[in-house]
Amino acid sequence: MTKTDDARPAVTADGTPIELADIQGDILRAYGNAYDCTTYVWIGLTGGPQAGRDLVARLAEEVTSAAPWGGGKPTHHVNVAVTADGLRALGVRPHVIDSFSHEFRQGMKDRAERLGDVGRNDPEHWTTCFTDGSAHLLVTVNALTPKRLDEALARLRSVITETHGHTIVDEQAAKMLPGSREHFGYADGFAQPAIEGVSEEKTRGGGVPQSSGRWRPLALGEFILGYPDEDTRDDRERRLPSAPDAPLGRNGTYMVWRRLEQDVARFRRTVSAAAERYECGDEAKLRAKIVGRWDDGAPLSHYPDAPPEDTFDGRIPGANDFRFLDDDVLGAKCPIGAHVRRTNPRDALGWDGALSFRHRIIRRGMPYGPELPKRATQDDGQERGLVFACFNASISRQFEAIQVQWVTDGNVFGLGHDSDFLMGGEPGSGRSMVIQGECPFYLAPQDPFVSTRGGAYLFVPGLDALRALGVGHVS
């Protein structure tokens, strides 16, 4: 649930006001489960730079900020992000574009090999707009109901028409499945980073683990540009992390968007066949071992043998307060290769989290496509998967480090070249999994369950920056 109606002024640890009214919404705090009707609209600015700027100026009027809403829940929210190709299409001056990070300017497609997007994940299998440079703007619409979503989309289309010449190059509807589940059947989205002055209530389990047993929240600059980050928070010279030229760098952030197709039938067949050989529990437990959480989200670190009797509620303080080195170094409770232990290792890499605290992301994923009927183990030919969206101040240090070092490769965990059993890529990359314990269980290499079908690196400008783009101040 969102707390955007909390009226207290937000400040960072050093007292700097957090300019919530200039930061786009849904980054620091999710709009909440009530907004479960989402459509991602990708626009190609084919009408030339001026028409592009006109569109951005119109969209800037619609964008929801992170400021408290006041009054009731808005019926819908609009947010805008732009790719490097989009900045070029808007006529932004080259030296301004050069002030953006290298990986953003290069784009996701050209970093495919590094990201493990090879073989069946290769960009040649992606939707064309993500490989031919025509995906310029991403407009995300979140609404309370399908009707409100349709209304907002109709309005968006009329704005696109009125500003001339633009093309909708991709449209992806997404909707949370019943019980806040994703397609494999797991409840998702529990572990988000705790941020100073923003979400400190999540500090236990969401912050940086300390040797004292405590946790501390992360600096805002890890997720929003223009504020001290973990590197500069104690800098005597009060230098800020590198960011794009003003006014673009202030209150903006980078976004990663990926369309990940899920082969649910293959996943179900694989797990149920393996469960027949699994002597330490049933299929539900084997599913939990693969992810590190039971289907309802209850962490194995707290519930190693069986899920809690009542449905797990991740919002209860302490629900995500667990570590791996206290009593589970060998992975007997939560396997060393479990998805949550790889993607958010907490203290697992030792050194009080010093090797992992700079690799955190804010995730805002949403499933797309119809649910495969319960118990079905054959594919029905329908496309389904997850729109993975995340926010971070540095795509290379945060998202890419997780994807490259922790998901695609396992060496840092002592797992050789094994990639994440749930998310990993090609067979032959050694994507097997050991479920540690008194009688260890070995999951043999499998064909992948998840395939990349498109994606892009984006920049999410602050509202002032968006308006500056609209009026051509940086063109």
Partner: protein, 205 residues
């Protein structure tokens, strides 16, 4: 350079291709040392490594760092006549290290885990900005005239990291134990012994 069996991730952000072989990444940094740095480095760092026990112990524990070596260079290597002997006007600190994983993560470990040790080694070098914030430190290391491109770099096991090789050697030991007694085992005993091997070696796979 032969292509590795399994390339693993591409990890050498900011690393010239010549400094990558399979999983191993080479880093070489040449920095100019201030005059007072020579006695400091000789007395405290090189001759009395016990003064930096924590740094050295931690360096060994960071398994993605294969090795790290600092050398004080006061004159150019002499290969005989007609090359004149040449003493350097300023001494230089020559740092070489091999590691696997990401370049940024490697420097992060230096900054966040080994910070005081890094100051001991590089504090007397011109331009050293301190180990934290790590961004200027990374820029310092990456500055082109400090980071050298290897003309020859060879990895015996390009598909493996040090962690993997150590795990393989550990597993090999367990296999030797089983091999030594396998002839004397009944089928049931073999199953038991093999399961015991899997349990013992589960961290090696």
């Amino acid at each position: 350079m032969s292509p590795p069996v399994n390339a693993g991730p591409q990890t050498g952000t900011g690393t010239p291709p010549g400094n990558v072989n399979g999983q191993a990444i080479a880093i070489t940094v040449f920095s100019t040392v201030k005059r007072w740095g020579v006695p400091w480095l000789k007395a405290l760092v090189f001759n009395e490594p016990k003064l930096l026990p924590q740094t050295l112990l931690w360096l060994q524990k960071l398994s993605f760092i294969h090795f790290a070596r600092w050398t004080l260079v006061t004159e150019l290597p002499h290969n005989g006549a007609p090359q004149p002997r040449q003493k350097l006007r300023h001494p230089h600190l020559y740092f070489e290290s091999n590691f696997n994983g990401g370049w940024e993560e490697y420097i992060d470990a230096f900054s966040y885990v080994l910070g005081p040790g890094m100051t001991a080694f590089w504090g007397s070098s011109y331009g050293f900005p301190g180990p934290v914030p790590t961004a200027p430190f990374k820029a310092y290391i990456q500055t082109s005239d400090l980071t050298l491109v290897a003309s020859h770099f060879y990895a015996a096991y390009p598909e493996s990291t040090v962690t993997m090789i150590e795990q393989s050697l550990e597993l090999d030991g367990y296999l030797d134990e089983l091999r030594a007694k396998v002839d004397k085992l009944s089928p049931d005993e073999f199953v038991e012994a093999f399961d015991a091997l899997l349990a013992k070696g589960q961290r090696c796979f």
